[in-house]
């Protein structure tokens, strides 16, 4: 059916099935891909457009309903060529876009409001944006951007040498606020074949495939395990346990079994029950108890006892030390599978180029993808080119392969480009999760409140496949005592296979789970001794000069005590206010809590080098070649800032080439909070290298001032000015590599696992509805020792986004296979759930880091749940032993507590 309507003020027409979703028509047929789709179910709001001036989810509107009406998308916001709307400029200036996948939807939702009301209140903004989810920002900067739309803060471009520490806007920001950034599902050529994956409805089953010929006749190809040259992948070189397509045996619900390849409509038209699979379901193993049971069936035949890994850290004599303690606290804490819920589902496309395969997909780790695809396809790594698209959120979940193997194999064998975009339920069912943990903790201190002994055992459910399980099991014992100086420590971690989804990397690698336990212990010991909870932590905080449980002496940059000092005035004031509020009675009670953390930056006791290059071409183009992927956290901008100051030229003169494995060097993966510290250091060195070359050419001293105009580089050394004609002197290329110095851990976990650690303390104020068990977080104050904030706006953005995820972990998020596989049953915080978050940046410089910087990505999330749970305890006397603390769980615990008191 042919339809006429207005698109962004211009007449448009479209022809197709009228039941087609508006979102699909815009993106697939009308070529306006600024509108994103994250769920196709109304739950995420990424697809928000204006229809006759009103915000609607374009995934819920039939094209048949568009005839004669007016549709506005993000592409229509710009007021002219390169002229952003005030709202877009405000988003840019406030750092309101991180990964940017929610940004077009946010902008359109906000546009409906600001058109009617250019000075909206916070509540009005929240009501307007309530239907758009953002997983990156914690919403604060978005709300500010909308409220400030009429009075934008003037942005300043820093001069040469002044980039580090300045709040320059994201270098990739304009692309994000105009909808021009190309995400995994945005740049797919029109002539591709599509894949639809048929997945297991069972958590544990054997199966046989029937005759696939009839399906093959309807499609271009039907791929099975037999089509995968080497059917096993995994993060660790020696653990390739996850098949691309299951081979007769599935180990979790959502596991890929068959890939249908053909025209898009053809693969979508085939229902799962038309694919001949004879299932023989078996009782699944869920949870560590079932996995550890003596007669438990094995999830993986070669893993006795379903054990993936165990190990720990031992220092001093824990048992003897407990004997002498004045107070001992203990408790067991459980967490659930948690879903990353990035708003961009996994997506990408691949094509064969001669004897090479080229993959355009959303990812956090181009080089690992390259090597893994080469291994799966039995190709040389050089035969694989990874061209990362913009990444609409990762948080660890896009470190594992998703669409890449199937699109690569299909494109390779069929000789045609092939695309795959996960649906939301598919993304949730197939992808990795945060490890459910059971952490048993025992801590003791002396009469002065000095910690003496700590014994922590953490059991992790690693799900069906190893993924990052070993990383979690290794990292947790190093961190499980918390950021405190304790002479006697025993920490232990074990990870077990189950028929749950593969648990992988999720912001913090198990440390957030452990922090819930150690921080509950701190509260309890402090309360027992009648010491203020903050002061208790302050007394025990690791400081420069202290030796950690792994025997590492912290030479520098251990700013926890400073973080606590910064929180103290807020803490005291809030205590008074809360006491006054609670005096008034009523069904609401307030409480305040505090959480501390430390976090080792980079891989645990493993080499994780980054290499960066800065080039100056004969035409005078200054380019940073960065293999560090920006998944929203801001590394594109930070690398430019660091490189700019290292070279001594303004950041705005840089162009950036990022991610493509053919054009950039390996800068490792975007995980473990390592990019600022490790890749940033490499960028600094690369910039310094280029500067050295320039100074040598100009025969100038180290203080020389550079300026670049076209192909002419001027070097001013005192009164002396030399010019270099790059057309004759170029090209120049500076290179830098950095691998943080660590040592392996011995059998007792002794060694130097990380070159540096981030420290943080956060406080949370909550209001508990004691009749309903609901918790409203009223305020978070977050103090983070980041070494040096390369870009304070981006650091704050990381903190606020991490806090929002920590809030979700504490209060609402629980992935249950088959039950919460969409974004209306699986709840993540909305704009109305995340409170005001005040960020206090502590800069205790790390000499190894670029300009003293460490990392912030994961540390932001770790202290939040402990602080919230401590605040709930303060308000109600109930200590949560299981998260998420859903309303019914809290209410039931309160009732039980009342009963036991009576």
């Amino acid at each position: 059916m042919k339809l006429e309507f207005t698109l962004n003020g211009r007449a448009a027409s479209w022809d197709g099935a009228p039941v087609t979703r508006l979102a699909a028509a815009l993106r697939d047929d009308l070529g306006v891909t600024g509108t994103k789709t994250g769920c196709d179910a109304g739950d995420c709001g990424a697809c928000t457009v204006l229809l006759d001036g009103r915000q609607v989810c374009s995934c819920l509107v039939a094209m048949g309903q568009i005839e004669g009406r007016s549709v506005e998308t993000v592409e229509g916001l710009e007021t002219g060529p390169d002229a952003m709307a005030a709202l877009q400029q405000s988003f840019l200036d406030h750092g309101a876009a991180q990964c940017g996948i929610c940004t077009p939807g946010m902008l359109m939702a906000a546009q409906e409001l600001v058109r009617r009301n250019s000075k909206p209140s916070r509540a009005e903004v929240e009501d307007a944006l309530g239907g758009v989810l953002c997983r990156c920002t914690g919403y604060g900067k978005i709300v500010d951007a909308v409220m400030d739309v009429v009075s934008p803060a003037p942005a300043s471009a820093p001069v040469a040498g002044g980039a580090v520490g300045s709040r320059i806007v994201r270098v990739d920001g304009p692309a994000k606020v105009t909808g021009r950034d190309v995400f995994g599902a945005d740049g797919i050529p029109t002539d591709v074949l599509w894949i639809r994956v048929v997945r297991s409805p069972h958590a544990r089953a054997h199966f046989e495939l029937g005759d696939l010929e009839p399906l093959r006749r309807r499609l271009t190809a039907v791929l099975t395990a037999a089509d995968v040259p080497f059917n096993g992948y995994g993060i660790y070189p020696d653990i390739k346990d996850q098949p691309v397509l299951a081979d007769g045996h599935v180990r979790y619900r959502g596991e890929a079994v068959v890939a249908l390849v053909g025209e898009r409509a053809a693969v979508l038209a085939i229902r799962d029950d038309e694919v001949p699979i004879a299932w023989r379901p078996e009782p699944p193993i869920f949870g560590v108890d079932a996995a550890m049971a003596e007669d438990a069936p094995l999830v993986q035949a070669d893993r006795p006892g379903n054990l993936l890994l165990k190990g720990g850290v031992k220092r001093g004599d824990v048992a003897v030390a407990f004997e002498a303690c004045a107070a001992v606290a203990e408790g067991t804490f459980e967490t659930a599978f948690v879903e990353h819920a990035y708003i961009e589902p996994e997506a990408g496309w691949a094509r064969r180029v001669g004897d090479r395969i080229e993959i355009h997909a959303t990812t956090q780790t181009p080089y690992m993808d390259r090597d893994e695809i080469a291994n799966l396809m039995r190709l040389k790594p050089e035969a694989v080119r990874i061209v990362p698209t913009a990444c609409g959120g990762g948080f660890g979940g896009k470190l594992d392969l998703s669409v890449q193997p199937l699109i690569a194999i299909a494109a390779w064998t069929l000789g045609r480009p092939v695309a795959l975009v996960y649906t939301r339920p598919e993304s949730m069912a197939a992808s990795t999760k945060r490890h459910p943990a059971r952490v048993k903790a025992r801590f003791g201190c002396d009469t002065e409140g000095k910690l003496q002994s700590c014994d922590v055992t953490a059991l992790f459910d690693t799900g069906a496949y190893a993924s990052w399980g070993p990383t979690v099991a290794n990292r947790v014992p190093v961190h499980a005592m918390g950021p405190y100086a304790i002479p006697n420590v025993r920490t232990w971690g074990e990870a077990y296979f189950s028929n749950g989804p593969p648990a992988g990397a999720f912001r913090g690698f198990g440390v957030p789970q452990a922090a819930i336990a150690h921080e509950a212990m701190m509260d309890e010991l402090a309360d027992r001794l009648g010491i203020d909870r903050l002061e208790f932590r302050h007394r025990n905080a690791l400081r420069a000069g202290d030796t950690t449980a792994t025997g590492q002496t912290l030479a520098h940059s251990a700013g926890l005590a400073e973080c606590l000092d910064a929180l103290r005035p807020h803490w005291r004031k809030a205590h008074e206010e809360i006491a006054a509020f609670n005096e008034t009675g009523g069904p609401h009670r307030r409480g305040i809590g505090i959480g501390c953390m430390w976090y080792g930056i980079g891989n645990t006791s493993m080499s994780n080098p980054s290499r960066m290059r800065v080039g100056l071409s004969p035409a005078g183009t200054l380019t940073l070649y960065s293999g560090a992927l920006d998944i929203g956290q801001g590394s594109n901008t930070i690398m430019v800032q660091i490189a700019a100051d290292a070279v001594g030229l303004p950041a705005e003169q840089f162009t950036l080439v990022t991610g493509d494995t053919d054009l950039t060097a390996d800068a490792g993966k975007t995980s473990a909070s390592r990019q600022t510290f490790v890749s940033g250091k490499a960028a600094e060195k690369a910039g310094q290298d280029l500067r050295q070359q320039i100074l040598r050419l100009a025969n100038a001293g180290p203080q020389a001032i550079l300026s670049l105009e076209g192909a002419t580089l001027s070097v001013r050394d005192g009164a002396d000015v030399r010019t270099i004609d790059l057309a004759t002197a170029g090209p120049l290329m500076g290179e830098g590599t950095f691998d943080p110095p660590t040592t392996p851990l011995d059998a007792d976990g002794q060694g130097v696992p990380y070159a540096t650690y981030a420290f943080a303390a956060q406080l949370a104020e909550v209001e508990v509805d004691i009749e309903l068990g609901t918790v409203k977080v009223l305020r978070i104050v977050a103090a983070h020792d980041v070494g040096r904030a390369i870009n304070p706006t981006l650091v704050e953005g990381q903190i606020q986004g991490g806090v929002a995820q920590g809030l979700g972990l504490a209060l609402m998020e629980e992935y249950l296979p088959g039950r919460t596989e969409n974004l209306h049953d699986y709840l993540i915080p909305t704009v109305g759930d995340v409170p005001e978050i005040e960020c206090l940046l502590i800069e205790d410089r790390e000499p190894l880091g670029p300009s003293g910087a460490k990392g912030i990505g994961e540390p932001a999330l770790v202290p939040t749940a402990p602080a919230i749970l401590g605040a709930v305890h303060h308000a109600t006397g109930v200590r949560a032993h299981r998260v998420p603390l859903l309303p019914h769980r809290l209410r039931e615990a309160m009732v039980a507590q009342q009963r036991s008191k009576a």
Binding site: P18, Q65, A109, E126, G773, L811, T820
Partner: protein, 276 residues
């Protein structure tokens, strides 16, 4: 690919329904049920039928056109009788859902957690169904027969909901309990309409949702409210025994015991709120 009809008139739509069609209004329940698969059924899009849209006052009350959206309802000038329904409208999904989702769609979808249903029950709404051969009216309580089941025949369309005018001045309110602020399926919700004469409750209608397969009125509580003075102490009248018609279940959003508890707390607050 199925057929897609978008009639402008009701007659045409009813004529079409002589054969099976899936009705599409705002699409906010329709599309989420069809993620990742081709839509193959024959679709009757009723959103373009002008006669089904909008709110009008009649001699005996109000007519809410079937495809009136939640946002249109909120913006309509209506007496305090409708405050509860309007408050519910503001709690349905986010703004986008309110701008598309329709009142009749909510009722026809017949989710146990449909936020529109308790306020409409408390308003004693009647459902008007049209058929090629005529129309009929059913009380909402008889229209919704179970979880996602209604008394609608395949050849019928819901054309409107009718709200009778109360005898005395009426007040109403709605309260929802969910695990987050926006876009959330209710754990429990309740709505009340009170007719007030001389400072006392002359008539009361209370309904609770998400605590039984179909939202329920609470006749015992309604009776207990009659004659009570219309002030913040109204909440104290609600007793656990009043919840007898409810049959809460355990699910991912809450346990049965918690739901019962919470429903009572929500009711008490609702009653205090309406009189505040």
């Amino acid at each position: 690919m199925g057929d897609y009809l978008r009639p402008r008139g009701l007659e045409e739509a009813l004529q079409a329904l002589t054969r099976p069609f899936t009705v599409l209004a705002g699409g906010t329940d329709f599309y989420p049920a069809r993620v990742g698969r081709a839509v193959t059924e024959d679709v009757l899009d009723i959103a373009g039928i002008a006669a089904l849209r909008g709110i009008s006052e009649t001699e005996v009350g109000w007519r809410l056109g079937a495809t009136t959206t939640w946002s249109e309802l909120v913006e309509a000038p209506l007496p305090p009788l409708f405050d509860g329904l309007k408050q519910a409208a503001r709690e349905v999904g986010g703004r986008q859902i309110q701008n598309s989702g329709t009142i009749a769609g909510n009722v026809c979808n017949a989710s146990p957690a449909a936020d529109g249903v308790p306020p409409l029950l408390a308003l004693e709404a009647e459902v008007e169904l049209a058929h090629r051969d005529g129309t009929r009216r059913l009380p909402l309580a008889s229209f919704i027969t179970g979880v996602r089941r209604t008394a609608r025949q395949p050849a019928e369309l819901v054309v409107a909901l009718h709200v009778p005018r109360p005898r005395a001045e009426a007040r109403s309110a709605f309260l929802k309990l969910g695990a987050r602020r926006y876009l959330v399926i209710s754990i429990a919700m309740a709505s009340v309409v009170l007719e007030v004469a001389e400072g006392k409750v002359a008539a009361a209608r209370v309904a609770v949702g998400a605590c039984s397969p179909v939202a329920q009125r609470l006749p015992l509580l309604e009776r207990a409210l009659i004659g009570a003075s219309f002030d913040a102490t109204l909440g104290e009248r609600a007793e656990p025994s009043h919840l007898a018609p409810l049959s809460p279940i355990d699910d991912i959003r809450g346990s049965a015991a918690y739901r019962g508890d919470a429903a009572l707390a929500v009711l008490r607050r609702l009653l205090s709120k309406v009189a505040a």
